[in-house]
Symmetry: C2
Subunit: 416 residues, 2 copies
Amino acid sequence: MFNIREIAKRAKNVSYGLVDISTEIKNRTLLKAAELIEKKRDVIEAENRKDLVAGEEKGLSKAMLDRLLLNEKRIAGMVQVLKDVASLNDPVGEVIKMWTRPNGLKIGKMRVPLGVVAIIYESRPNVTVEAGSLCIKSSNSVILKGGSEAINSNRVLVNILKEAAESEGFPSDAIQFVDTTDRSAVRELLLLDEYIDVVIPRGGEGLIRFVAENARMPVIKHYKGVCHVFVDEFADLEKAWNICFNAKVQRPGVCNAMETMLVHSKIADAFLPNMIEMFKKVKVELRGCERTISYDPDYIKPATEEDWYAEYLDLILAVRIVDSLDEAIDHINTYGSHHSDSIVTENYTNAMKFLNKVDSAAVYVNASTRFTDGNVFGLGAEMGISTDKVHVRGPMGLEDLTIPKYIIFGNGQIRE
Amino acid sequence: MFNIREIAKRAKNVSYGLVDISTEIKNRTLLKAAELIEKKRDVIEAENRKDLVAGEEKGLSKAMLDRLLLNEKRIAGMVQVLKDVASLNDPVGEVIKMWTRPNGLKIGKMRVPLGVVAIIYESRPNVTVEAGSLCIKSSNSVILKGGSEAINSNRVLVNILKEAAESEGFPSDAIQFVDTTDRSAVRELLLLDEYIDVVIPRGGEGLIRFVAENARMPVIKHYKGVCHVFVDEFADLEKAWNICFNAKVQRPGVCNAMETMLVHSKIADAFLPNMIEMFKKVKVELRGCERTISYDPDYIKPATEEDWYAEYLDLILAVRIVDSLDEAIDHINTYGSHHSDSIVTENYTNAMKFLNKVDSAAVYVNASTRFTDGNVFGLGAEMGISTDKVHVRGPMGLEDLTIPKYIIFGNGQIRE
C-alpha cells in the first residue's frame, strides 16, 4: 500500500543535505533530465496515450484532454524549461543584507531552501517538470501530487527526473511522487506539517479551498483571476482598444485574462462604440451596467451583481462605466481577486495613484494583464501564481522557493 | 453584543486607504501616542490594577501576574517603543528591484502593506503597543486580541492609540480591539479570511496549535524555542563557558535560552568539569547522556529521549556528548525547534558548515543564542518570532509586515 507519511519523511530527511549540493550538480541534473526527455520521447508519448485513452473512456471534456496531451511541441517545451532553469542564478546562499551591531555582532540574512515543498496539481503533466526543476535548482525536496487522470504521464516524467538525479549525484529521494489515485492521500498529506514546509495547490477553486481548509502547513495559493482593465478619461484610445481586446480575446481561458472592463464616463462616447464593434466581431458576449447597455441595447445583456465577481474564463466580458478613478479603484479592490489589473491612461498622477492603491499582485499601466507569468516576467519559470498576501504575490519563481535565515558572526558576545 | 465580523470588515475597508497615509502622519501618530501614555500614566496604572486584582482573585501564578504588571519602567518601555518605531524607515513604497523586459515593459517589485493583521496574544499588555505601533508604521490595519486577564489594560492602551490616530489624521478604524473575553470570538476570527490577511498567535503552544489548526488565513507562528549551543572540538574554552552560561542562565524563561548543550567528545575533558561547576553554583539541574553523567554521577540525572525535545523555560539543561560536527548538526535538526542555535569554534570550516546546515531561523557562531530579538537585531521592535519557513524566519519586524507586489510600466504592450 502506498504510504504517504513514509515518502514525506524521506523527503524531509534528505532535505537538510540539499543545501550543500553544488550549483554545478544541480545544473547537470537538469540538463541530464532534458537529454533523457528528448531520448525517451517515445516512452513518454506511450504513457501519455494510456492517460488519454483512459480519459476518453471516462468522458473527460475536450479541453481537459487537450490539457492532458503531451505532443512534440509540449515535450520540447519541457526540455526548454529544464534548460532555462539550469541557466538561472542559484538563489541558495545569497546573502541579501548584512550589518554590524554596536556590540560587534555581524548579522546577515542568507537565502536558504524552504525545505519540503508539496505541490498538488490537476491535469497538465508539464507541471511535473516545471515544479520539479525549480525545486531541484532551489535545493528543495519536492512531493509531486498530480491529477489521477495524468498518473502515467506524471510517473514517467518523475522517473526521468530521478534517473537524472541518480546519474549526476543529486539525492533522488528529494523528488517524491504520490503514486496513487486514492483521494485520501491528499487529505493525509495535508496533516503532515511535521515533514512538509509548504503546500502549493494548483487547479480549480474547489481543490484550492479544500487544501486551504485542511492544511496544517502554510499554503501558497491562487483562487481565481478576476482581472480588470480601467480605461481612464485620459486614455490613448488606440492603446485602450488594443489592450482591452488583447486582455480579453488573446487567450480567454487563463487566469490573467480580463473579466471586467471599467470605462470612465468622460471617455465612454469616444471609446465604447468601436470597442463594442471589435468584441462583437469575435463574438464576445457583453454584460453591462445600465449606461453601458445604452451603447448597444440589442447586443449587450444586463450585468448582475454576480457578474462583477465572475471569472468567466471564456469569451464573456462584464463592462461598467464609472465616474472617477476612485470609483474604478474601489470596484477593483471590492470585486476583484487581487491578481492583475491595468489602467490605460496618459495622465501621470492617475497612473501613479492606480499603481499605489490597487491592491493586486500585479498592477499595470498601459499594458495587457496577460503578461502576468513567471516566464514572461523574466523569472525563468513559475511554481504557480500567488494571490495571497504573505511570502509571495504574483508569479512564484526560484527566489520565492527560498527564505532568508539569520546568520550571526560573533567573537564571544553574551547578552547583558 | 460584540460583533467580530463587523470590526474585521471595518479594518479591511479602511486598509486600502492606508497606503496613501504619509510617513509624517504615521510618525506624528506614534509620537502623539507616546505623549498620551506619559500623560495618562495614572489611568493606565488604575486600569492595570483592575486586571491585577481580578488576576489575584482568579489565582493566577506569580509569574503570570508579573507579566501582567505595568509599572513605571514598563510604561517607559512602551513610550520608548513608540519613539523607536517612529524613527525607523518607512518600508511602504520601497521599490526593491526593477528591470526591463525585451518588449520594453518595466517590471518592479514594490513593498506594500499586508492589509489586515490580526494578533492574538496572552498576558503582556505591552504587546498591544508594540504590535499597534508596527502596524501603524507599516500602514496595516491591526486587530488586537489580548488575553482576557489583561482586558482593562489593553483597552486603555488601544484607546490611547486610537486617540492619537484621531488627533493626527490616521484612520482610527485601522486599530481594532477585540473587546470581549468570550472565547468563541477567536474561533470566529479565524474563519474571516475574507477580511483578515494574516494572523499572528503569540503565547503558549496550546494557543498556537489551536490557531494553526483552525485558521483559514495564513498564520505566522512560533511553537517553541529548543535552542542549542554546540561546543566544537576547536572551541575557545573561555568563550564556550561564557556563552553556554549566558545562554542558559541569564534569562531561562524565554524562547531564545539554551535548552540543550552539545559537547564534542574531544573537548569534553577540558570543558565539562568547569562548566558543570559553574552550573552547579547557580543550581542548574543537568540531565545528561551516559557519557556526560560520568563527569559528575551524583549531580547529573539521566536524560530521556523526551529531554532532547524539551523546552524547559527553567534552570534545567540537557547535555549530550557527540563525536562529530555532523552528529551535532543532525541532533539539532532532528530535536530542535528551528529557532536559534550556536556553535562555539575557532575552526573556520566547521563554523561555515554549521551556519549552512543548521536549519534554524538564527544560526550563530561564537555568540549566545539570547540575542534573537527584533530590537537586539536592530529591527526596532518585533511582532513576534517566526519558526515557520515561509514569509519570515526569526524576528518579524517592520519590513516583514509588508510584501512586494509587482508594478508594471508599459506603453501599450499586448501579448502576442
